[in-house]
């Protein structure tokens, strides 16, 4: 079958193309949502794109479709490369890709028709969950078989993170979606909130984060031509991520009537998150000390470097906003939306793009179709992300302070209107970046021209 054709690195290529497509689709969906927050009647009364439906379509399409595909695609390149063994089965890999895409497509369609489990990032209904699990399971099996047949005895830190990510994502996805309850995908009462945020936090912390960190660990030493700074720091960062990140989901519902002891765990754990984050960043940044120009000279490396900076910012903000005094102001408003975009787009999304641009030339054997377009996408996304952060944080502070001061939500709507307009305008940069990326990635994979020589 043509779709399952075996070719070297076919899995990675297919994942990358899917990622580029989902980035265009996902950002357009976000754009549609943003329009509705400014002019709720502009797009007419169309049920399947009404805000309550387009929002989960957006979040799931960008998290699983765009960032997820790129990260899992890179994992299918990194593991074989790092253990010096070809991927166990490219055919299995292709099945993994198609199942993954099928899940995102079906998830999108069912959400737009109003089938939803309504828990953030766990909205997709049970049949879609089954497909996701199948895809994750196949990917895990394929990579495990690859590692079992490895030539290289020592497993590099990226491989740890990738396996950690697979194991944790599968578990978290299964339990978080309460897959033993197919009709509601949930348990009951406040414990359901706790479980849902154990999951929601796991999606960003144990799915996106470890995959993205794995890519950074791979690309940074190569682009700056230096060995990794410290093995012990890698160990510390890896195990502490798994141990701490898992505990802290309740910081999303800190002000709800959850048990106090759990809140204490969530808050202390959030602060302790500085350990795994610092371990990773110190390790990576000391590796590149004095060698940053090398990284900036590489298209993929540049993205990854920017991603690590956003990682730092996200993870300074994260522990701060887990503190109850700060959450009085920041919870429930656009401050969190800024943080969310910073983590998912600024950190994991930009590193995912970096992975694509670094690895693509190595699997096609040709330079990128256009380095210029990749640079342009870099700046568009970076500017867009900085704009998002500024605008949404400002809007969030205005809402939060207004409410704390006794203003009603309705009274604050006109106050944030200008910021919603700015967000939409800045969003155009990110959407344009997505289109450019799709074109460039497509042409790099299938275009006949090899583009300008990298200068």
């Amino acid at each position: 079958m043509e779709l399952l054709r075996e070719e070297p690195h076919g899995t990675t290529k297919a994942f990358y193309l899917s990622s580029a497509v989902w980035m265009v689709f996902g950002t357009l969906a976000g754009f549609t949502g943003a329009v509705q927050l400014i002019a709720p009647e502009l797009l007419g009364n169309i049920p399947w794109i009404v805000f309550g439906r387009i929002r989960p379509i957006h979040t799931n399409a960008v998290i699983f479709g765009f960032v997820g595909s790129a990260l899992i695609g890179s994992a299918h390149y990194l593991v074989p490369t790092l253990v010096r063994t070809p991927l166990y089965s490219e055919r299995l890999g292709k099945i993994t890709v198609w199942l993954w895409n099928l899940a995102v497509v079906l998830g999108t369609l069912t959400l737009s028709l109003g089938f939803s489990q309504n828990r953030e990032y766990a909205e997709w209904i049970w049949p879609v969950d089954v497909i996701v699990m199948a895809s994750l399971g196949l990917g895990f099996y394929n990579l495990l078989q690859t590692v079992k047949r490895r030539e290289e005895e020592i497993l590099y830190v990226s491989v740890w993170y990738i396996f950690g990510a697979f194991v944790f994502t599968a578990f978290i996805y299964f339990f978080g979606n309460a897959m033993w309850n197919p009709f509601t995908g949930s348990i009951t009462g406040i414990p359901d909130g706790i479980l849902a945020w154990f999951y929601g936090h796991g999606v960003v912390g144990l799915f996106l984060t470890p995959f993205a960190v794995a890519i950074a660990y791979y690309i940074i030493p190569i682009t700056c031509r230096a060995p990794l700074y410290s093995h012990s720091l890698s160990l510390l960062g890896f195990w502490s991520l798994l141990m701490i990140y898992t505990h802290i989901g309740t910081h999303h519902i800190l002000q709800a009537p959850t048990p106090t002891w759990l809140k204490v765990i969530a808050i202390t754990g959030s602060i302790a998150m500085l350990v795994p984050v610092a371990a990773v960043l110190i390790n990576l940044w000391l590796t590149m000390r004095g060698r940053i120009p090398y990284i900036l000279g590489d298209t993929g490396g540049k993205f990854v470097l920017a991603g690590t900076v956003w990682y730092l910012l996200t993870c300074i903000q994260g522990p701060l906003q887990a503190l109850p005094v700060v959450q009085r102001i920041t919870h429930f408003n656009n401050w969190v939306v800024a943080h969310a975009h910073m983590g998912v787009l600024g950190f994991s999304g930009i590193i995912a793009l970096g992975g694509i641009y670094f690895i693509l030339p190595r699997i096609t054997g040709r330079p990128l179709h256009s380095k210029f377009l990749a640079d342009m996408q870099y700046w568009l996304v970076l500017l867009g992300m900085s704009g998002f952060f500024t605008v949404l944080t400002a809007a969030g502070l205005i809402q939060g302070h207004g409410w704390l001061n006794g203003e009603t939500v309705y009274r604050m709507l006109p106050e944030i209107h200008p910021y919603m307009v700015l967000r939409l305008s800045v969003g155009i940069l990110i959407v344009s970046g997505a289109f450019i990326g799709l074109y460039n990635i497509y042409m790099s994979l299938y275009g006949f021209k090899t583009g300008r020589k990298a200068s």
């Binding site: 009404v50 089938f115 578990f171 339990f175 009462g189 406040i190 898992t246 959850t258």
Partner: protein, 316 residues
């Protein structure tokens, strides 16, 4: 430490198991399943409405728990774990693009909700909530039933109050203008009825009043104050035609009281949470001057003039 596939997979699974136990299973097993004082089971129609709420993602804009620091809708009761024992899935929410709804039941009568779901801008001109007309009347009815149950027994008590006053307001409305206005005003406490607006009319005040009118009232009372705003066809009794108040003894105090307190049973909401004192005087006077055509602003008794007032009256 030498990292091998078994170590990664087994170590990872072990950590996952332990943490899942501590932060999910333990709270799940130990948390109360006792209903709180206000809890009651939902009816079949209310359940149906809740399903629509889940399907349509209302929870991306509406939270359902009240915190100690809240002032807006529902702030009279802080959430307790026992309020949630039947929630599946939970609808706590993480964003308040719109207000918290955990105590929404009975805040408004059903006709207000009908107009609001058909198009939120009809009753809340600056709302950014989507229109839900596409759900169809039957579904909206279920959604309203669910809304009116939010807050359980507290909501039931408020709904009882709405149901008590609804027929009375209809009866008054059907008596014609004189009867209706008399009914409306008789219910305003005596001291308020006699109270004129203590502040003088000023161009600045009217401009502010106009702005408030446009953000809060225009959808019902209409751009010319005749009660023919876009919400009117959905409301019964319909919004008041202000022009009928001329010569019927309306005072600044009555306007203030009605705007502050609302008229339970009718769609007229209370505005004391949205608007503070000066804004209520301003919009009341705007209505008086612009639509009713008579105002008692700055007439006796008006007390000592406030320090900011322009020096044109006698008392200084």
């Amino acid at each position: 430490m030498k990292m091998t596939p078994p170590l990664l997979v087994l170590g990872g699974s072990l950590i996952f198991g332990v943490v899942l136990f501590v932060v999910v299973i333990l709270p799940w097993a130990t948390m109360t399943d006792q209903p709180s004082d206000i809890h009651r089971p939902r009816t079949a129609l209310e359940e149906r409405g809740r399903k629509l709420y889940v399907k349509n993602g209302c929870s991306y804009c509406h939270s359902q728990f009240i915190r100690r620091i809240d002032w807006d809708l529902g702030a009279e009761r802080i959430a307790q774990a026992g309020d949630y024992i039947a929630e599946q899935p939970h609808l706590l929410g993480t964003e308040r693009t719109g207000p918290d709804l955990s105590q929404e039941g009975g805040e408004h009568p059903d006709d207000w909700h009908m107009a609001h779901f058909i198009n939120p801008r009809y009753v809340r001109p600056e709302s950014i909530m989507p229109e839900w007309a596409f759900l169809g009347t039957e579904n909206i009815t279920a959604l309203i039933a669910y809304k009116q149950s939010l807050g359980y027994k507290d909501a039931d008590a408020r709904m009882q109050r709405q149901r008590l006053w609804k027929p009375k307001s209809i009866e008054a409305y059907e008596k014609g203008t004189d009867g209706n206005v008399a009914w409306l005003h008789d219910l305003v406490p005596e001291p308020w009825r006699k109270l004129p607006n203590p502040y003088p009319t000023s161009q600045a005040g009217l401009t502010r009043g106009h702005r408030i009118y446009q953000s809060f009232c225009i959808g019902c009372h209409g751009p010319v104050g005749d009660g023919m705003g876009p919400a009117a066809p959905h409301l019964y009794p319909p919004p008041l035609n202000f022009t009928t108040l001329k010569g019927r003894g309306v005072s600044g105090g009555i306007l203030y009281y009605q705007i502050m307190n609302g008229i339970t049973g009718t769609a007229m909401p209370y505005f004391k949470r949205d608007l503070e004192s000066e804004k209520i005087w301003d919009v009341g006077n705007y209505v008086a001057v612009t639509f009713i055509g008579e105002t008692d602003a700055n007439t006796e008794p008006r007390g000592i003039d406030a320090s900011y007032e322009p020096a044109d009256g006698e008392k200084r």
